[in-house]
């Protein structure tokens, strides 16, 4: 198997490109190809995805983020791949959202179960989000009867 031009790992992407009127052949591994924006990586496992994200986010601004509750820096998170405390989700928000969206099919908003003690407000908010998602699906499936019903439920909650 060919080796990746950039890092020497097995190459899985072969690209023939025209650059300044010349044919350029590139052989790249999946990670480097994704880094160049050549392929969309849908077929990576979650740990590969995380590793990949961590390798390729190198902005100085995010690396210096620090949680003032547990003291973890974003750089340390990149190395150990585990967060230090619940507050990290807020402290690293800017840097984490792209990772969450990558790992969870574009979503970064919880719509599932809410703790009993978190109160009714949060529950209503999540119910609303779920109804809106269902409405979108119903419209896409041209199920207008269901869509009308969902629309009424949404109005009621709003």
């Amino acid at each position: 198997m060919d080796k990746c031009d950039k890092c020497g790992k097995p190459a899985t992407v072969h690209l023939t490109d025209f650059i300044d009127g010349k044919i350029v052949e590139k052989r790249l591994c999946a990670s480097c190809a994704a880094a160049e924006g050549l392929v969309v990586k849908t077929n990576l496992s979650i740990s590969e995805l995380l590793e990949d994200f961590i390798l390729h986010t190198t902005s100085q601004e995010t690396a210096d983020l620090t949680c003032d509750v547990c003291g973890l820096t974003f750089n340390e998170f990149r190395q150990q791949k585990l967060l230090g405390c619940p507050n990290d989700y807020d402290a690293f928000e800017k840097a984490l959202v792209p990772l969450l969206e990558g790992a969870h099919g574009g979503a970064s908003q919880h719509v599932g179960k809410v703790p009993h003690r978190a109160g009714g407000q949060q529950k209503a908010r999540n119910a609303l989000l779920r109804l809106r998602a269902d409405l979108k699906k119903a419209i896409a499936a041209e199920d207008y009867e269901k869509a009308a019903m969902l629309r009424d439920q949404i109005k009621e909650l709003e």
């Binding site: 585990l82 619940p86 979503a107």
Partner: protein
């Protein structure tokens, strides 16, 4: 209830009878939870970890999550006992091998286990044989609610239940199935199936979780998305839509194989069974390979007189830690292969021989 009570038999769910048992051995639903107001484990001092472990042990025991609960302190448990729990899927390999204060609570019927201080403060898991995810999810949610009555879990209005690894955040619910895919392997379609799984945002791993090699023809498939979907959707989509695709794919491969080379396959199955019934030394890899063949033979109706339940149980009880527990002594090399062969002979010897369809 003691740990030793577990060894002589396989828990009901481990025997793998249930819907779709020809392909699906078992299913599992798992929730991660962390205590609100506490750091995640990587930022806990040893003292803090030990306090969290003691508190969770106390609360789990008092919460009445099952009729009888056995709590195992993994720091004082022997290495052999920890391996045993891994072989039964009650704890992860990481949980067995780490060295900080940690434990596991196990329901007496082994359908539920709660790992304390694994990657998150709590990892609650529920198992079923065959494909019965809604049932597993229901029991899981009941256990979680009992614990939630006593504990405040870390929760965020945007990100849901907070976990040490951001890939679990949201519902923090992972569902998985253990699949037996021998025909896909034999027909060279396994790579394709695994790629298809990844395209469906599923993760495929070996029998004992993260980093473990697929053992024989056994694979663990699980969902990756935990944020932006609710618990019901996760269970319905995974168990109701995605897993059935694999089942269909494997069954189609089985039919194609049987249509093309029925006698060659039947020969393979019967030889496999004959070796298991007569060998005097049996290594673990060979046992896995042959038991997989026999399992396929039973599932396709070409082997009679032995049932899938027995094969699943033999597979579990001949894993290294179980074998040593069963014989009550440390075994190595040849003596282990001898013990394995002898146990397999004793379990597969009885019953009528020959194909089910004469």
């Amino acid at each position: 209830m003691k740990l030793a009570d577990l060894t002589r038999r396989a828990g009901e769910w481990l025997r793998g009878c249930g819907p779709m048992e020809d392909v699906v051995i078992s299913c599992r639903a798992r929730l991660a939870r962390n205590l609100a107001g506490e750091p995640f484990l990587s930022r806990c001092s040893p003292q803090r970890r030990s306090e969290i472990e003691a508190r969770l042990r106390r609360e789990i025991t008092a919460a009445g999550v099952a009729a009888t609960v056995l709590y195992v302190d993994l720091v004082s448990a022997s290495g052999l006992d920890r391996r045993l729990l891994v072989e039964r899927h009650l704890i992860s390999r990481e949980h067995a091998d780490s060295d900080h204060p940690r434990g596991v609570a196990i329901s007496s019927d082994e359908t539920a286990s709660i790992m304390v201080n694994e990657e998150d403060h709590l990892r609650i898991q529920v198992f079923r044989s065959g494909l019965r995810l809604p049932e597993a999810a229901e029991q899981l949610s009941a256990i979680e609610e009992k614990l939630e009555d006593r504990l405040d879990f870390a929760f965020h209005s945007r990100y849901g239940y907070l976990t040490a690894c951001p890939t679990n955040v949201g519902t923090a619910l992972r569902v998985s199935v253990m699949l037996h895919l021998p025909a896909l392997k034999m027909t060279g379609q396994l790579e394709k199936a695994i790629r298809a799984a990844k395209d469906m945002r599923l993760e495929v791993r070996g029998l004992y979780g993260e980093g473990s090699e697929a053992l024989g023809d056994f694979f663990q498939v699980s969902n990756q998305t935990t944020l932006g979907v609710d618990e019901r959707q996760i269970v319905e989509e995974f168990g109701g839509e995605l897993v059935p695709k694999f089942i269909e794919y494997e069954r189609a491969a089985r039919s194609a194989l049987l249509a093309k080379q029925a006698s060659a396959l039947e020969d393979k199955f019967q030889r496999g069974l004959a070796i298991l019934r007569s060998a005097r030394l049996m290594g673990s890899q060979e046992a896995t390979y042959l038991l997989s063949l026999v399992r396929l033979g039973i599932a396709t109706g070409k082997i009679g007189g032995v049932d899938i339940k027995t094969v699943n149980e033999v597979f579990l009880l001949t894993q290294p830690a179980h074998l040593q527990k069963l014989l009550k002594k440390e075994l190595s090399g040849v003596s282990r292969a001898e013990a394995r062969a002898s146990y397999i002979r004793s379990r597969l010897a009885t019953g009528a021989e020959g194909p089910a369809h004469g």
